[in-house]
Symmetry: D2
Subunit: 341 residues, 4 copies
Amino acid sequence: MTNMMKRWQISAAGRQTLELADVPVPVAGPGEVLVRVKAVSLNYRDRLFLENQGYAQFALPFTPASDLAGEVQGVGPGVTRFKAGDRVINNFTAGWIDGPPPRVNGVNQSFGGPLPGVLAEYVALPAEWLVAAPATLDDAEASTLPCAALTAWTSLVELGGLRPGETVLVQGTGGVSLFALQFAAAMGAEVIVTSSGEEKLERAKALGATHGINRETTPDWAEAVLGITSGRGADHILEMVGGTNLGRSMAAIAPSGRISLIGVIGGFESSLPSFPAFQAQATVQAIFVGNRRGLENMVRAVDRIGLKPVIDTQFAFADLPDGLDRLERGPFGKIVIRVSK
Amino acid sequence: MTNMMKRWQISAAGRQTLELADVPVPVAGPGEVLVRVKAVSLNYRDRLFLENQGYAQFALPFTPASDLAGEVQGVGPGVTRFKAGDRVINNFTAGWIDGPPPRVNGVNQSFGGPLPGVLAEYVALPAEWLVAAPATLDDAEASTLPCAALTAWTSLVELGGLRPGETVLVQGTGGVSLFALQFAAAMGAEVIVTSSGEEKLERAKALGATHGINRETTPDWAEAVLGITSGRGADHILEMVGGTNLGRSMAAIAPSGRISLIGVIGGFESSLPSFPAFQAQATVQAIFVGNRRGLENMVRAVDRIGLKPVIDTQFAFADLPDGLDRLERGPFGKIVIRVSK
Amino acid sequence: MTNMMKRWQISAAGRQTLELADVPVPVAGPGEVLVRVKAVSLNYRDRLFLENQGYAQFALPFTPASDLAGEVQGVGPGVTRFKAGDRVINNFTAGWIDGPPPRVNGVNQSFGGPLPGVLAEYVALPAEWLVAAPATLDDAEASTLPCAALTAWTSLVELGGLRPGETVLVQGTGGVSLFALQFAAAMGAEVIVTSSGEEKLERAKALGATHGINRETTPDWAEAVLGITSGRGADHILEMVGGTNLGRSMAAIAPSGRISLIGVIGGFESSLPSFPAFQAQATVQAIFVGNRRGLENMVRAVDRIGLKPVIDTQFAFADLPDGLDRLERGPFGKIVIRVSK
Amino acid sequence: MTNMMKRWQISAAGRQTLELADVPVPVAGPGEVLVRVKAVSLNYRDRLFLENQGYAQFALPFTPASDLAGEVQGVGPGVTRFKAGDRVINNFTAGWIDGPPPRVNGVNQSFGGPLPGVLAEYVALPAEWLVAAPATLDDAEASTLPCAALTAWTSLVELGGLRPGETVLVQGTGGVSLFALQFAAAMGAEVIVTSSGEEKLERAKALGATHGINRETTPDWAEAVLGITSGRGADHILEMVGGTNLGRSMAAIAPSGRISLIGVIGGFESSLPSFPAFQAQATVQAIFVGNRRGLENMVRAVDRIGLKPVIDTQFAFADLPDGLDRLERGPFGKIVIRVSK
């Protein structure tokens, strides 16, 4: 291990300054762990941060991406939680062990914005912010869990209390949606997926979806959900769009049902129609990924149910720009950057 | 008891056809109870139904109002739940005993719309839809519970799980808000009330509110809530306005906090800003009053804590129009119509 | 349909008076349904009631058994919940729709004791006490659900909130235990089964158990559970024995774990050791089968996950005594009596 | 501040070796805080540890007592949670921040056994194990919270979800019982207290109890509870005795009620009768004091509701033996040792 390493960073908002810089390997301070990063997965939010510094404040130069899988290289003073050689993944939000999110001035401290990201050969992080990687996944697969999988798990299990026999509606076939589909199917739920293409719907059914709704040919998908559920609606809906789409989700919700608000591609301001919400006594909960306890619970579940994350494409460390391009075109599952072996 | 009775009704949408009609006393069928109505309380929604048939469908002639306190006059075949002489109140939604709301074609069956209302000297209702009135309240007080008090109780206790030491924000000083204030204060919560007038704030404090915020002099009341709570925000907010007001509630919510969506005076379409909702992992739940189990739990609590409903004004049965006028001017607490002695 | 039918009954405590009597077909009163009984499943408690009237009071002649699957033959006045031809099963406890159990003088009103049982060609029951049978099960299979399956479901799902990745310990291979195994496996839990025989353990594994512990060769099964779970213990334990066995369950429980107290073969008085209970902050909850809402939720789940009840043996209606003998010898799964076609 | 301080300790099991020793003031290591101890409260378990090393393992010399209130004197490297001058109390169990209890080899690490206790002029503890003391309590009062008050709070609020109008039964008038009484009364619950003396019952009523049952004159107190509650029973029972007393608690429990198992004076093995437990579907949960999140929630509540701990007697630091004698005679409320000013 040399004293220098490679790290992706921008020196100003926008992809045009994105570069693979040479910087010193960080040192693990008291309570910290030095992690050799093996794989990093990308999320839609990484593009928001790269393109628009206004999404939230961060310091320059700024390194993107929030999700890593790696191997503990060494530990700083006082660390007993991990030892060299352990395989780890990180929790998406720094310092969130359990209970409610620990906002700092109203904002949670997540990797890849506002905190520095993890697209580097090494990172030094507090041991308390890491958890053991699932034994049944390789590094690329494990790297997909911190943001997308935990968002789905928190929505359906930790906060949603999903039971077998309930109906789950997932919108689209991005990372969070596919994890939600897989968890829900593994728990014995009925899973309805909406998508804009037949091929994606077929792939979703192969992963365990019970029903597919083609949004192109069935624009009023809420009506279709009511049809599938004999008028009852879906007990759990993952709202992946936001904006006016929330109104359609509300038209499709079952009595005492839960809508997990996750996506923002339809706007950062969503419309909540009161009348159907009252009739169902529906809940809308905004999901901010999840805490470390939920992540640990999920890792146990992943190993138990044998869940294999759906990876759309893997890219070499140097090919991050290609990965970002792919992210823009709506992948089926996750984009992974292989950082080191 | 004669065979005829008085009943308020409209023959077309709008108050202009409101009349006190002579109609036959109903007969209690199998499983039903004949109730001599003693008092009826009014709710804001009664005005919506009277003025605009489009709010929801109902049959004409239509009798307004949802909340009664009365005395069982007789029982139909098979009734064991009550006997003549029992003092009762009704649950707001017909047939909702427990669990999720029992929508019929997407709409809950509530009294005073879409079901016929209770502004009559007698009503015949299924025994299962009634509960024993609190022993510590007189008829006028008991009549205020079915809609307004249960809405507050469901929001804070049945669904909210309010704990001592938590902070509750109630908006305004209408019926639901004052019940929420009283329940929250009786449970050891910190209660912040917003209002447009100093006098109302003083009266709210006399009822147990810890803090008052004058919306006229402090338009950014969300900021004021953060100030009172050292930046944490309120754990429970009763959203009594809707529309864009929901955005301000979201700015004032604590991590893992709950907003109970109740009022619609600001619009039937509310705006939910995603960014602060994510940071708090906040929940918005639309409240449709509550089920019979919650009502029974609440009646026990009312008797135990000695809660006295705040009645703004009582009117004689014949003076319903004056009561409706008073309702329009923003009463402090409830409007009660005394139907019979 | 004639006016007379066959019904099993005893005229005094003890199997010696058990006879197949000719009695009038009952009539469905107001709110009631006449059910043509197709199949009845037996439970261990049926033997307790037959042998010992002291277990709980009941009227003579007494008809045993609590669980039926049948077809609605006709409905009494006022019934809208079912119509002739509907396939139904009954809830084990009469009048328990939702929420806490409705004790009458401290005792719940269940079929087959203290209420009359269902081993008859026809029964007339309130429509509210029945639910639609699962579409995916035949009558014999459906008849196994009311007591055994709902006990397992209530323990793990309704009250237990089981999550994927958690560990469930089921004791033995009787009806409740096998349903618990099947539900837990279908939800992605790790399932450990104890049994006295290797063959039964193999069959349990074929049904989805992850680990089997042979109680004969491994008497300290609690230690074995700790070994399997890396010292953590099981998150959910179904206590099927009672008495001193509860102490061993407590030695095997995980932190914040739940023991569902179900069986009484080891005694009606169980020993709860405080020290390990404190360290785990463990919960012991006695399970009284479950309410109608839970049964309806379970039926949805059974249809969704394709659960097939394990039936040890089926007997003709006239061969009830053989079925009772078989019950005594510890069947693998349920004993079903075919009442009519 | 000199380099030496006074500390109570034993060099062998049993009070005969108890001495006030001169030992070096500890040094705050990384992540630790040096606390000047102001007051320490005693608990019944302190006597168990002093008299019988077998209760659990600990190292000699051993310092007794688990609960302190003090002032931060200085902080070690990396501490940001507190600063010199802050008033603090400790959580009873080391390292338990949230979620399930963190057993080590099956045993939780609590102060005063198995970990060293706090009867010393100074202690050095990880900052994460401390919380801010309530602003409304003095040091003696604040020192009573870590074990007794949190046990009551965890039982009724964190795990029990107590609601206004519910019935709480507390057994006796020791520290935990009086805190439970005060919390329950402040939340609008009906509180029944059992005690062996009329004077204690009068004092309990003055603190908010609704009913008192004299165990001397009413040995069948379970029957008395059923009488007070119209046959329903108590929704929450704090079991302060254990052994056969648990059977009586079970006879007094309401449907879906909770018994919090806390006391061991009646034995470390409790008898759980299945029949009444089934009928109520009752829960017994062993309570191990509580986690830091619960303690922080409770501190907020104490400040909000103005709860004043009941202190039986205060003793000077040198008079610990007198305090232990008093503890043996069944105090009404807490015993406090004033350590320093």
